[in-house]
Amino acid sequence: MRRRPCVARGLAAALGALLAAGAARAAPEAAMPERLAPCIGCHGAGTSETEGVPSLGGQLPDYVVTQLFQFREKQREAPPMNDVAAGFSDDDLRAYADAVATLPPPARSGAPEEAGLTERAQALVAKHQCSSCHGPDLAGRDAIPRIRAQREEYLAKALAGYKSNARPGYDPAMNEVAQELSEADIKDLAAYVSRL
């Protein structure tokens, strides 16, 4: 990820807030709003306004717990989340996942799409059978994430990471699928899915 100064500042501030909020980690029974406060600092209350930081709204707990686990185990590298999750117990992972899953789905965002994008992207979605796992409306199910209305640059980075294997999926399904994607395909898919 290319760091932009404003993003770096935002992350640093939010991370500080999060680490200061160690109380949430120390008390598994902490109330949900209290637990979520540090998450919302970067990710927003469902919709992320921060470049490079995904929206978490509408994600199911099985997906969130898997990602938190991968951060803790350093299977997925995504600073600052590896440091954030480093000290979490299994119960912490579950509690944060349940809390995050209460956030409302992200609001549609982004500039109007260019002509021809919908046709190209829908053909890609059909060809690569995205809906087979992510569901007909790409809202996810079980441990498979909601991708509709996710931030565009985040989706593009995720797909590129799967293609290069820099991001090994918890399950290799996305690494397999992404092998056949071109850079142009990734651009189109990210632009289209982020505007759903």
């Binding site: 717990v65 898997t66 299994d90 087979s132 441990a143 090994p168 399950d171 290799p172 397999e176 699928v177």
Partner: protein, 424 residues
């Protein structure tokens, strides 16, 4: 290999077995061969061949099917589905160990320590033989951060661990259970494909390491380096291909009498709900046999795309069929003496359970018994109950005959190991 059919198999019994997704190679398999004529058109031509979903028809009920990986956290011991698991009369099931997230292949050291690999969480575990004060066997994590370390094999004091594309040896492992051991690289001349890249490994009676390389996708013409089983010296040298046409084997063992290698093979997806079956195969001529993939499946069914111009007679037929999409994984001969005489040298197979099927099949341990002729006489359910109302309460991955003659069964969905014993 000559297909076998046992006249003793009545139609009623055969039908019952068919309902359980089990069949004997022979007349039923021949019937299955007729099915493709009425099956749905096999493949969408739009999907690239390397895709996991290559071959899936578009739309409809098929769109609701997808593989689902188990959770990364183990189920608490008190919440394991123990009361749902059924075994034949006289047998008993208990929890052997819990807290091993994504527990996969197992191997046991002479001192009783059970080593366990994982596929999705990067860890290798050691289960100590003696329960602690709470009555639970301590579980140590001996390695973390590995890439799909599914395969484990104990040999001469060392633990061999297979990652996706590297095989390591942890020497004197009993003295290094604290997670700080430095392994030695044994072999890494392996593809890095994620699809079917995780490995079951074992060391044969010839003191050689057996390593499968799966097909890098559902159905495709595999490169010369894939869809095979290799045999390698324990120092990583002299690798040779001993079986070809193997789509993805995740379990094998040697017949204690003949020393021949028996292995499961997972059949292709998206042709039909009901075919092809997973296979139980036997290698009688190492290096000379081709087991069919991608040309012929289940010994009787030429592939809708790759089968043209071929006959199944060109390939080695399976010794038994293990049900469509059942994900037949770990396999071991019963070499203990604790179980009744009828189980001596029988083959236990862990069926992980289907995803590519509307009504799930598998999610059990079956037992394949050999007749006096050394061929499979029948395949029967042994441990059931993992599948409840078309949902998994657990998913068996591997079976292991423990030193005391009991059968250990790993469950990657719950991160647990069960112990099946008899008469105790």
């Amino acid at each position: 290999m000559t297909p076998i059919y046992k006249p003793v198999l009545t139609h009623t019994f055969a039908a019952a077995l068919a309902c359980l997704g089990l069949g004997i190679v022979g007349r039923q398999a021949a019937h299955a061969q007729e099915t493709p004529a009425t099956a749905a058109p096999p493949a969408s031509v739009k999907v690239e061949r390397g895709d996991a979903l290559y071959g899936r028809p578009e739309g409809g009920a098929a769109a609701k099917l997808a593989p689902v990986a188990g959770p990364p956290l183990a189920t608490a011991a008190a919440k394991l589905p123990l009361d749902k698991l059924k075994v034949p009369e006289g047998f008993h099931v208990e929890v052997y160990a819990s807290g091993l997230a994504n527990a996969r292949e197992m191997t046991q050291a002479p001192d009783g320590t059970v080593f366990v690999g994982s596929r999705t969480v990067g860890k290798v575990y050691a289960v100590l033989p003696q329960p602690d004060a709470d009555g639970k066997r301590p579980v140590k994590t001996i390695a973390t951060g590995l890439h799909r370390p599914n395969g484990v094999a104990f040999h001469d004091g060392a633990l061999y661990v297979a990652e996706l594309s590297k095989i390591w040896r942890y020497d004197d492992i009993a003295q290094h259970l604290d997670g700080a051991a430095k392994p030695t690289l044994v072999y890494d001349d392996l593809p890095k494909d994620e699809a079917h890249g995780w490995k079951f490994i074992a060391i044969g009676p010839d003191n050689k390491l057996y390593v499968p390389v799966g097909s890098p996708g559902n159905i495709l013409m595999p490169p010369d380096t894939h869809a095979q089983i290799r045999r390698i010296d324990l120092d990583g040298k002299n690798a040779e291909v001993i079986a070809r046409g193997v789509r993805n084997t995740v379990g094998f063992d040697w017949n204690p009498k003949t020393k021949q290698l028996w292995f499961t093979d997972n059949g292709r997806d998206w042709v039909s709900e009901d075919i092809p079956n997973d296979e139980l195969n036997v290698l009688t001529e190492p290096g000379k046999q081709h087991f069919g993939y991608p040309f012929c499946h289940q010994g009787t069914f030429t592939d809708p795309e790759y089968g043209w111009g071929h006959s199944c007679a060109e390939f080695t037929a399976p010794a038994a069929l293990l049900g469509p999409h059942t994900a037949s994984l770990g396999l071991r001969f019963y070499t203990g003496t604790q179980f009744p005489e009828a189980y001596r040298d029988a083959i236990f197979v862990a069926r992980h359970g289907s995803w590519n099927r509307t009504t799930k099949l598998g999610g059990d341990v079956v037992v394949a018994r050999l007749g006096p002729d050394g061929k499979i006489a029948k395949v029967e359910p042994f441990m059931t109950g993992f599948l409840q109302d078309n949902r998994y309460a657990g998913r068996p991955v591997d079976v292991l005959v423990a030193k005391d003659g009991s059968l250990l069964v790993s469950d990657d969905y719950n991160g647990a190991i069960y112990r099946v014993s008899y008469g105790q």
